[in-house]
Amino acid sequence: MENTLKVLRAVKGLTQEQLAEELEVTRQTIHAVESGKYNPSLELAFKLARYFDTTIEDIFRYEDG
């Protein structure tokens, strides 16, 4: 699953630490999501979408197979 989290974060001028603090997760989790190694829970996906004032589909792109 690809995502645009890194771009959205860069637009807001946030570091991984700052975003992690805002969403109450570890910095490693933000890094893992950005690098596509970890797919977040639905709850974290909603939190991200709300934080960046967008939709989950705009952040994450699911591809079959």
Binding site: E24, T26, T29, A32, P40, S41, E43
Partner: protein, 134 residues
């Protein structure tokens, strides 16, 4: 009054490693001196220090990803330890029939322990399956 300022995750990890090393040393000394009270005291003191330190960390230590990591590590440990106990246990029972009779008791104990672990795991699988709407 005992007061510790807030700390970051790295400091907490250093304290955790130091406490683990200290507990290991205390355990080793208590085994050598055959004093269970020292071991108990060391473990309790370590737990108290870790609890206090954890309360002072101002960063997030655990989240959904660390939870998944723990679950995966626990599953891998369960699989590995259970298989090892069963295989080594059966091996020891087998060797007891070749003349190493002292191995039989330990072999049965390990094999039974493997069964108990599997039984407890099956019970919790059933319990959480029901609890999570299965």
């Amino acid at each position: 009054m005992f007061y510790v300022m807030s700390m970051d995750k790295e400091t907490y990890n250093r304290i955790r490693a130091a406490v683990a090393a200290l507990i290991a040393i205390i355990m080793a000394v208590s085994v050598l001196r055959n004093t269970w009270a020292l071991a108990m005291g060391g473990v309790l003191l370590g737990m108290a220090v870790l609890y206090t330190a954890k309360k002072r960390v101002d960063e997030v230590l655990y989240d959904e990803r660390t939870k998944i990591i723990r679950e995966k590590a626990a599953n891998a440990t369960l699989g590995l330890v259970t298989v090892m106990l069963a295989v080594v246990g059966i091996g020891l029972i087998e060797t007891s029939y070749w003349g190493y009779t002292a191995n039989r008791e330990l072999g049965y104990m390990m094999a039974f322990l493997a069964n108990i672990i599997l039984g407890v795991n099956a019970f919790f699988n059933w319990y959480y399956d029901n609890r999570l709407g299965g």
